[in-house]
Point group: C2
Chain length 460, copies 2
């Protein structure tokens, strides 16, 4: 049986014999007794296994090392120790797989850097047992939220022939040997499998919109890629995004959905990952659970970019020194995001951004200066969700792409959506890893991705 | 409100006024009446909207074209027509987005080939409303199955530095301009973002095993890539795979899981996609639902590869002419798969395959000739799931990679799993699109992927 099943109702098993399979996380040996800290990975909590020298194999068992895999049979009894209510009194043990003394995951504190080098073993530690279970459960929270509300899960393509947003930040893909290409003077398109140069997607939004115009409500959840050479705690070259798109939905309505969705996810994780969250609250950030509960119980402020700048300027008058001077018509800095969430003491939607610092596809407001974009700023983490109402007017969209000198030949289909039964529609994007940083309070994106890809790092 | 919500309990809304937003799928005009076939994409079924010339906007409404998006307000009434129990008697209509006469999705039969060229519009047709909702629901069935059983959803990396299985069939990825590379005489690794040549993954299994050795039960569900130039109905260059890995699980147990999992998925889809499945049963393959129900209710046969060859040879003696002669120690052909599932009149697990035609990581059986691999063969589609017990003995695995002249320097971590608390463990892979072909009876992989990537095709 799984340890999770056992621990769920351990009283029921009192006095009963059970069989478990898992690993030795720690092994304390005394002269007449031994204690094995046992985990099978199905739940965060461990089970204490007790054995004594009445077992004929006592001396043999005492040789079993940390990291070894074992099968155990024994009786569940009330524990006399203080760390646990029950323990397993060993009757029989089989060593399934030995583990040498040089096993890197000894039961002591390891640095996060060391653990990244041992990325294939780190999920066996408490921290990563918590983080990667939360990652899995958060993914399920997202699927459950959208599927319960009749959204269609849309697999946006990863290989793409076009690059609209992130010029120069895309990975190029080829089926040819790169050395072969190097030998050619010019890249021969005909040798390419797709007959053209293709790249890895930076966003599934544009394709997602096509499905929203058919199914009304869709969401993507898949990997996206950026080729940028950014060595920060928040950037990875491969990351997962959730991108919902909703037809017949304006900016105010999409804020409703974002807020509802985020609160749902937080509640789901708090409910399904109790021991993991308690561990993180204790060892990673004190007050984490309270912070998350507060985010669930607060009503998110909605304010325009212009009003934000006004508040930031007033703060300057009151004596606050900004590293970056806040200006109407310009982007806001990390320090501003921080100030605003503290000013309102909670999450803040900032909407109606200057059009020149936002994307071509965003709905142009009537003032001619702003677009119906909205960023959700959270205390402690800054921007978590970016969304907008999409431009649904064919002529306005085409004009905007001309102003920006964009080559739209690969996007005829995207523009045509505005011709064939166009709708008021909106969507947003959540960086899955950024959401996990928020939920876990872990501070480096490398520690919430099983095998992170960052500049210089593509191992495992 | 959404149409799905309305249609779920339409009797409750009888005599009540509702407001809906969606698209005109068809518009039949008569002198004093008009009928709009209305869909908002949230469910397979449509709603009939009726209006008459008592409306002051009657003449205006009659101009509304197929494909246009509309907001309608009206009363739900019992229908006098035969096609539906209820309809909406129109009170007010707003044209949200017009649609020109050259709209490609007119309400008539289009060829599948034509619809592929219009891939961004085809989800608006009945067939693709059914297929892509089933795709979404099937994904949810998979997540629900594994999460309910405490599997960890593991995001295997897409970018990878190694190519163990599919030499020559990987896409190469670079952050450099391919033309720039062409100008260089040799591929300069230092210019690469990761400091090495990287590729797109063909499978998440090997990394998945590392997490199974920490969490006991995991599954991947993500995109995988093959650079092969295969123009068939069953091959795409980008496709999604589900790859569960389970520690403390042998070949017989993994067959139990595969069978249970497939039956669960089928039941889930039959339950959650009734109108879609009825549509496919009527228009794509008569008897589809019955075929699926039979697969749920049958017990899958388990038989060795050797026994299969024996049956095939006996068939030859009885006069059956094989295009490919069945031989002990060799692979079996499509015609053999077909014969075997017909012979047993249901799904068949074929296990214990000749080791030379299977992968290096499969558990070597004691006979020295076979490995503990298993393929699940289904009537009508052939192989759907491929699985195996994994080699858990360090020396045997290393010897096998030497026999096969494999360069394992990028796989030190994979080998080490056999050193640090190794376990009997197994896993399997389901091609998501092949599963969808089976569930829908659609016959071309291009028609179950939103934007398929096949040789020469990377549009949208």
């Amino acid at each position: 049986m799984d340890l999770r099943e056992l621990l769920k109702e351990i009283e029921k098993y009192e006095g009963k014999e059970v069989k478990l399979q898992g690993w030795i996380r720690n092994h304390r040996k005394q002269k007449e007794f031994g204690f094995i800290d046992f985990s099978d990975g199905t739940c965060f909590n461990h089970l204490q296994i007790v054995y004594d020298d009445k077992l004929s194999s006592f001396e043999e068992i005492q040789k079993y090392k940390n990291g070894s895999s074992i099968t155990v049979i024994g009786t569940i009894v009330k524990s006399e120790g203080s760390g646990q209510s029950h323990e397993l009194k060993l009757k029989e043990i089989i060593l399934e797989g030995d583990c040498p003394d040089d096993y890197p995951m000894q039961p002591k504190q390891h640095s996060r850097e060391f653990l990244r080098e041992q990325a294939y073993l780190r999920p066996r530690t408490n921290l990563f047992q918590a983080v990667f279970r939360i990652r899995s459960v958060t993914a399920m929270a997202i699927h459950t939220y959208f599927q319960d509300r009749d959204y269609i899960y849309f697999h946006s393509p990863i290989l793409t022939g076009s690059d609209c947003e992130g010029a120069g930040e895309m990975f190029r893909v080829t089926n040819q040997d790169l050395d072969e290409i190097a030998k050619m003077r010019e890249n021969d398109q005909e040798k390419e499998l797709f007959g053209r140069t293709v790249s890895l997607t930076v966003s599934g939004q544009l394709e997602g919109e096509t499905f929203a115009q058919a199914f009304k409500k869709i969401y993507t959840f898949g990997p996206t890629f950026r080729a940028e050479n950014s060595n920060t705690k928040f950037h990875a070259n491969e990351f997962w995004m959730i991108e919902p798109e909703i037809a017949f939905c304006d900016l105010e309505q999409v804020m409703d959905i974002e807020e509802d969705c985020l609160k749902y996810i937080i509640n789901y994780v708090l409910e399904h990952c109790k021991p993991e969250m308690e561990f993180l609250d204790k060892y990673v950030e004190k007050g984490l659970i309270e912070k998350l509960k507060k985010a669930v119980n607060s009503k998110y402020v909605r304010i325009t970019h212009e009003e934000v700048i006004k508040i930031l300027k007033e703060a300057e008058e009151k004596g606050i020194k900004w590293e970056f001077k806040p200006e109407y018509g310009e982007d806001i800095a990390k320090e501003h995001e921080k100030y605003i969430t503290e000013y309102f003491n909670g999450p803040v939607f900032i909407k109606d951004w200057p059009k020149d610092i936002k994307s071509f596809y965003m709905k142009q407001n009537e003032d001619g200066k702003t677009v119906a974009a909205v960023d959700l700023e959270l205390p402690g983490i800054g921007e978590l969700i970016g969304g907008s109402q999409r431009e649904d007017d064919y002529d306005k969209l085409v004009n905007r792409t001309k102003e920006l000198n964009m080559d739209m030949k690969d996007y005829w289909w995207y523009l045509n959506l505005r011709k064939y039964g166009s709708t008021v529609h909106s969507g947003f994007g959540i960086g899955f890893e950024r959401l996990l940083l928020y939920l876990t309070s872990v501070d480096n994106i490398r520690d919430v991705i099983p095998y992170p890809r960052t500049p210089g790092n593509c191992e495992f």
